[in-house]
Symmetry: C2
Subunit: 452 residues, 2 copies
């Protein structure tokens, strides 16, 4: 049922495809989970992947399709006829997966596939879902859910649920609505099972239900479901009518994406890349932040260049340039990432921004004094210039104070401006603090060496 990690399926299957040994391929795939087959297909060349894909029965094929990463999936779909996509794969999927897949296709292909869908209800659901912004609750919700009317009895409910359940893979909760489809509350299976069959639903359901609107940002949905441990959350329109539901697996994807984006930002990568990607994709993902680094380096060169004469007199001033730059960069990244991570976790702390800054300043002061002290000690014993000893320590203290205040303020400001605060982390803050650190250091050094 699931992957044996020590086996190289990709290699094995490549061989079987060469031999056109269909029965063997089918029996191999039969024991695998759709997610595993998707991983194998994504690792194969398009032609081999396609050969295998066409051997799958429609239900399995549609489950696999959902799991293949977008890039490889679209290559596969572009090689298939619209009517095959529509009738063999899309019609077997949950509406949210179908909308995701169609939404990622070119407009033209999307329309021709939509027009080939025979079940008008399925097509309608997909078109409805495609209306929503893909980063909102509406964009990730599915239309498949089980609803019961508040006026029914438990017996009617159970009968109705059996009927609706055929279309819904996992039920989790039963949603209770009124005659105009407004959400009134939720009902667990447990409640249904533990109560008499002629009890009315209106006496059973729980009206305290946490819901989101169709336009709630997906990150907010994820945070709510995580915080309240919800396996599914209902999505309502502006007047409280039940439009769909979002399940935990969609939200895990959102969380994973968000965490990866923040991680990429702090490590200076643009977009979601893995070592398996093409050389060109990998290069492109790394270029932008390195360009910022280069620009920073050139500015740094100019700052030092402006002090060429001072350096000729006291070359020792150059010794601690990397130390100052590195400490400024590290402190800045630490400060900004603490802020970014706390924003991302969504935990409210009731602490004012002013108090946060004051605290950050206190932390920076302790760290600054400690490291200024350490480097003073080192230079006191190992350097023969007392001027340099003082200059390095005092610069380090000031640089650490500046770097941490900037590191804290910038993401807070970005967040206030509704810009992703993670932009402030990584190479950006490092580069800015590098230059600032250099300027402060050279100025203070010249002061101590009396060559200002």
């Amino acid at each position: 049922m699931s992957f044996d990690i020590t086996r190289n399926y990709a290699e094995e299957i490549r061989l079987l495809v060469e031999q056109k040994n269909d029965p063997e391929i089918k029996s191999l795939l039969q024991d695998l989970h759709p997610a595993d087959i998707a991983e194998i297909l994504a690792a194969l060349e398009l032609e081999t992947a396609m050969y295998i894909y066409l051997l799958l029965d429609p239900e399995m094929a549609s489950d696999v399709l959902v799991e293949i990463p977008e890039e490889e999936r679209n290559k596969l779909l572009n090689a298939l006829a619209p009517d095959v996509i529509a009738r063999q794969y899309i019609e077997y999927m949950d509406s949210d997966d179908a909308a995701d897949i169609l939404g990622s296709l070119d407009e033209e292909v999307k329309l021709s596939v939509l027009n080939e869908i025979e079940d008008m209800e399925v097509a309608g659901d997909i078109v409805d879902l495609l209306e929503y912004d893909e980063d909102t609750a509406g964009g990730i919700m599915a239309k498949e859910l089980v609803t019961v009317n508040e006026n029914w009895t438990v017996a009617t409910c159970l009968k109705e649920i059996s009927r609706q359940a055929e279309d819904v893979d996992d039920i989790y909760y039963v949603y209770v609505v009124d005659d105009s489809n407004k959400l009134k509350g939720i009902l667990s299976f447990k409640k249904l099972l533990l109560n008499n069959t002629n009890t009315r639903i209106s006496n059973l359901y729980n009206p305290d239900v946490i819901s989101v609107g169709t336009d709630t940002p997906q990150e907010e949905v994820a945070r709510m479901m995580e915080k309240y441990d919800l396996v599914a959350i209902p999505v309502l329109d502006e007047i409280g009518r039940l439009k769909g539901r979002i399940t935990f697996d969609d939200v895990i994807d959102v969380m994973r994406e968000e965490a990866e984006r923040d991680y990429q930002m702090v490590s200076g990568i643009v977009g979601d890349v893995v070592p398996g990607d093409k050389v060109w994709t990998l290069t492109r993902a790394r270029f932008p932040w390195l360009l910022i680094g280069l620009t920073g380096g050139i500015l740094g060169a100019r700052v030092i260049g402006a002090n060429e004469e001072a350096l000729r007199v006291v070359p020792a001033m150059a010794f601690f340039i990397p130390l100052i730059a590195a400490m400024a960069g590290n402190v800045g990244v630490q400060s900004s990432s603490i802020v970014v991570q706390s924003i991302a976790s969504g935990v409210r702390d009731f602490e004012s921004t002013g108090r946060k800054l004051l605290k950050e300043f206190a932390v920076a002061l302790i760290i600054g004094l400690a490291f200024a002290g350490l480097i003073f000690g080192y230079n006191f014993f190992f350097s023969d210039s007392i001027h340099l000893t003082w200059a390095v320590s005092i610069s380090l203290l000031i640089v650490i104070l500046f770097a941490s205040v900037f590191g804290t303020v910038i993401p807070l400001v970005l967040n206030r401006l509704k810009i992703d605060p993670a932009l402030a982390t990584g190479p950006f803050i490092t580069t800015m603090n590098d230059i600032l650190g250099l300027t402060i250091y050279l100025l203070i050094s010249k002061f101590f060496f009396d060559i200002l």
Copy 2:
């Protein structure tokens, strides 16, 4: 039912506590979710938090307790009598939450609470769970689950489920076992509802069930549940007997922790800190990596110091020190974080390590040539030394090549050695590459200026 984010509950409640206005406090808390109450309590001083906590009814109090962060929770528990903790809170919890909470207490307190638990079955479950390593499936599973025997009929099942369901909050799946409690398969509610009441379970259940062992690492459990979209996963002992189950909410916590740990590592922070933490906690979390940075800076100072005479002759050599160091650091962090993230995502790519390295080298060569070219262009126009122009460009190329190969190899090696590969990211790789970059740059510069 859930938090109104624009209200400052902490302030409001502090006031009500001062006035000892219990009815008002109770009515305010009544409308809130346990997770929200926990957030408010965590933000209050211990005394105020305790006052409010004691106003909650036992069921709500135990739900809230589970949600309070460990540090604040233990403060609260240390102020309560063991018999109150045991009988008013622990006995109302799921076994996994109870074990978590007890496991985080001091040995002495833990034992006295355990001995005050009156229900021996509850106490036994908790003691069993405490045996497992807290980072494994056994350490995060709960004992509460619904099992049915493969030989029963649907009717017997439904009756038995109603009985067992009282102890289990969310059922999700019904586990089918044989007479010796070995897991045979799973059954969905849907299957139970859609079938005739005298059908035997053995004809209905799905034997293709994905499970984990009690000693499976929690990160592996999380990756499996994420990949296969599982809302719950059964946990088996070595001989296949069903010992417990892990639900999606536990796994979301594991994922969140793992992502945060990697993020902290790459940004040079030790441990899970938020801006709301104490100044001392924040300082301690930032000290270790900064010490590495300082050591690196001192080594850098020595490398440059060894070239003091060269610098006196050509101070311009110092101009590009920050650029080389910054580029080396950024490239190294990029490379290592791509590897770390791909390991963390758990997606298998069937690509050999050799091929990955070759690709990384190709990427580094493109990036290196591009940036060497850019800086050559800059220096060609803006610098008056052709020696410096060549030295900077060639050093940059070599440094980028080294930095990316190291950045890729080190996390791969750590992972092979079963050490967390994320250790290689952040300040560690930056510092190492800084020094390496400096050494290469100064050597090449001296060669071009003919002062080697």
